[in-house]
């Protein structure tokens, strides 16, 4: 058995990169003897060693060079394309997707590429707004942009943003961090020009807000989209599966956009709310990534309409509308994604649990059957052997007699062997041990019974031993045993009208961890008490009477036990003992 510490940091040798000067780290070697696999990650800054993997930093390579160049070109191009309704001839536009791609790049590859941002921003100033910004100021403004977005990226990196944005918490974090960074840049930018050409106080503040909202709108749509880009194949296959729905949703979006910009009921944006309807519909059905695509399309439509001048509207108006639409729909979509994931996880666990239960039930049945059949088979073999001895004196009358008896005995032994094999199969194939914290398992099981506990007004108290050691056990089996015992307790509690209390206590010592589950129900009936742990004994009409028998045999087969005790709450109390250091094989 190899033992690793809990994700201890392991700093590998760091070497300067030949391409980018600073930040590429050469993959260090994991300590040679432990032989754990090495995986590469772009989302960490220094190598780490966890229990299962050595995580090395992916070095900067040609892929990053291409992406970096692409980024710079895209930045300048987007700046030029969205240079719509500039305020005060500055780079303040309603929508800045280049902020979005910047943040995505820095989240993916780390602040070590911040200098690329500075290059891109300077390039945009020179090429798009040539001559409007004093030359000497360009490096200053460009590096301000780079610094603020690097800080934002540093705050977001390593929190799973690279993988997916799947919870409202992440959306809020993205919004807040993006808002702070863009406000910072806006302040520097607008402040700088205000210093050059003094303007009224209110104008400065308004321009800061405009700048920040432009950037934030860009971040809101483009950053999540770029981060989700590696999963485009999944997206396409999902769209193909639900093509009709996608067509309907795109249609609804077009209709709502046409109603806003085509019908021209109002000359401004007062009539822009229909766009919420398809956006929310999409959020409900597709979760986060699909919603981002829709949001991007809506943003582009608005900016295009503004560029063409089909609708006249104020600068701030379009920004605020896009921002509120984006924030609302994204939060909703993230909540939907989270819920879908939780539901999927629950379904998977249920499936796993019922599979394990089926297997264990089959094992218990086989075991019971094997024991019951073994008795008559034993008698059969012995009678046949006796008959062989009895037949000896008359064996010469018919030579087939002794042979036939031998065959009969052989067949009986074969029947016993079949039972043995079946039993061994169910015994050996079911457990895969891992290191478990029983408190976590208990919490998970309680969570799945939460609804019932609340529904029946059962008060559940957990008293955990703070210094409980982990146990080696099969997680699904432990969950199943807890489920069975807890289920019995809840059934018992539901049958009474008094106060319904459930008390779960964990405690442990060097060798074992104990879990006791006590209830204030009617207790164990005297007539079932002697055979409580026998299979097929039950007081319920809907049960098989296997729960406790199963639990006991599973625990006993791994050095533990399950028994009933006197109960402080007056009902039944079951105690599980799990061996903390079971032998590797039995």
């Amino acid at each position: 058995m190899r033992q690793f510490g809990k994700s201890r940091n392991w700093a590998g040798p760091v070497r300067a990169s030949p391409i980018f000067g600073v930040s590429a780290q050469v993959i260090g070697r994991a300590p040679a003897d432990n032989g754990i696999p090495i995986v590469y990650s772009e989302s960490i800054d220094r190598p780490q060693c966890t229990d299962n993997y050595f995580i090395a930093v992916r070095p900067l390579n040609s892929e990053i060079v291409t992406r970096g160049l692409l980024y710079v070109v895209a930045y300048v191009l987007l700046d030029w394309m969205t240079y719509v309704q500039p305020v005060l001839s500055l780079g303040i536009t309603p929508w800045n997707p280049q902020a979005g791609i910047t943040l995505a790049l820095l989240i993916l590859y780390g602040p070590r590429l911040a200098w690329l941002t500075a290059v891109a921003a300077a390039g945009a100033e020179l090429l798009v707004r040539h001559g409007e910004t004093p030359l000497w100021a360009i490096p200053l403004l460009a590096s301000a942009i780079a610094v603020f977005y690097s800080l934002a990226a540093a705050l977001l990196r390593g929190r799973g943003f690279q993988d997916s944005i799947d919870s409202p918490g992440k959306v809020i974090r993205l919004l807040a961090t993006g808002a702070i960074a863009s406000l910072g840049i806006g302040t520097v930018y607008v402040g700088f020009f205000a210093a050059l050409q003094p303007a009224p106080h209110t104008d400065v503040l308004r321009n800061v807000a405009r700048y920040a909202m432009g950037d934030l709108n860009g971040i809101l749509t483009v950053t999540p989209l770029l981060l989700a880009l590696p999963k485009w194949r999944q997206g396409i296959s999902a769209v193909r599966e639900r093509a009709l729905e996608v067509i309907a949703q795109v249609g609804a979006m077009l209709v709502s956009l046409w109603a806003i910009f085509g019908l021209k009921i109002e000359s401004d944006l007062h009539f822009s709310y229909p766009v919420f309807i398809p956006a929310i519909w999409i959020a409900f059905r597709w979760g986060f990534t699909g919603t981002i695509l829709a949001l991007l399309a809506i943003h582009i439509a608005f900016i295009a309409a503004a560029a063409v001048g089909s609708v006249s509207f104020s600068f701030m108006d379009v920004q605020v509308r896009l921002l509120s639409l984006g924030a609302t729909v994204m939060l909703l979509a993230a909540a939907v994604t989270e819920r879908l994931a939780a539901e999927r996880q629950l379904r998977e666990r249920d499936r796993e649990l019922s599979r394990a239960t089926r297997f264990a039930v089959a094992g218990e049945l086989t075991s019971a059957l094997a024991h019951e059949l073994n008795q008559p088979i034993t008698a059969l073999v012995s009678y046949t052997r006796a008959a062989q001895i009895l037949a000896e004196p008359i064996a010469d009358k018919d030579a087939r007699l002794s042979g036939t008896l031998e065959k009969a005995a052989h067949q009986a032994i074969r029947a016993a062997d079949i039972m043995k094999k079946l039993r061994d199969f169910y015994r050996s194939g079911i457990s895969s041990r891992s290191l478990l914290d029983v408190r976590e398992v208990i919490d998970a099981v309680l969570k799945s019974h939460e609804e019932r506990l609340r529904q029946h007004a059962i008060r559940c108290t957990c008293q955990h031993d703070a210094a409980l050691s982990s146990v080696q056990f099969d997680a699904t089996q432990l969950e199943m045993i807890l489920h069975n015992v807890l289920n019995n307790a809840i059934e018992a509690l539901v049958s009474i009208d008094n106060e319904r209390n459930l008390l779960i206590i964990t405690r442990g010592d060097q060798q074992s961890v104990f879990i006791s589950i006590a209830d204030s129900g009617p207790g164990i009936a005297d007539e079932v008490r002697p055979e409580l742990f026998e299979p097929f004994v039950t007081t319920r009409t809907d049960g098989m009477g296997l729960g406790l028998a199963l639990g006991r045999s599973l625990l006993r087969s791994q050095g533990g036990d399950l028994w009933a005790e006197e109960c402080a709450l007056g009902g039944a109390c079951f105690v599980m003992r799990i061996d903390a250091n079971p032998a590797e094989t039995t």
Binding site: A370, N374, A386
Partner: protein
């Protein structure tokens, strides 16, 4: 019951009956009991041979029965009948001093082999016991004085030293010695020492 017997304890009547028949045909004497309790109630100290008991029984199970036999000082060898997979219980039985175990369904040759071995062990144990009992009975016939002389003699002391220790003359020691050797049926001092060792009296 002066013959070696297999005491067969199993709650399943057909298993009991078939094994009993098989054993009798193999020329072994067997007596059947439907439960551990039935055996314990019927038990007579003069019984010998071995106990063949099932592990899983209603009422007292095989392991509890085994423990009870130890408490009651019933020292017959015990052979446990187990089912396949009762690893933990089998291990426990052997730890508690079981002679052997047999997995059901039983192989007849192995059954006879193991039971005969168990009976032989019991017979040896009993005859050793019997000898010891007989010798102790002889030693019990000694008078207190003779016993003192016997103990010192067994330690290898000379007549004179024995006399000094017991404050009697070596001649008197000689008289006691002759008398005790007659009672113990010993021909030499060496026999006295051997006997002392056998009964563990010193």
């Amino acid at each position: 019951m002066s013959e070696a017997t297999v005491f067969l304890v199993d709650d399943d009547s057909s298993v009991r009956d078939s094994l009993g028949l098989l054993l009798s045909l193999k020329g072994m004497r067997a007596r059947q009991f439907a439960s551990a309790e039935e055996f314990l109630n019927a038990y007579r100290p003069e019984w010998y041979g071995c106990v063949l008991t099932d592990l899983r029984m209603t009422g007292m199970n095989g392991l509890e029965f085994q423990a009870e036999l130890v408490t009651r000082n019933i020292n017959m060898p015990l052979v446990m009948l187990t089912a396949h997979g009762d690893v933990a219980a089998t291990r426990q039985a052997l730890k508690q001093g079981a002679f052997d175990f047999l997995e059901k369904p039983v192989d007849d040759a192995m059954l006879v082999d193991i039971l005969q071995n168990a009976i032989r062990v019991d017979r040896e144990r009993r005859s050793a016991n019997a000898t010891r009992t007989e010798l102790s009975q002889r030693a019990e016939r000694l008078t207190p004085r003779e016993r003192q002389v016997f103990q010192l003699l067994a330690k290898g002391l000379q007549n004179r030293d024995i006399g000094t220790q017991l404050a009697i003359s070596p001649r008197t020691v000689e008289v006691y010695k002759a008398r005790l050797m007659e009672k113990l049926q010993c021909r030499s001092v060496a026999d006295v020492v051997k006997l002392s060792l056998a009964i563990g009296d010193s």
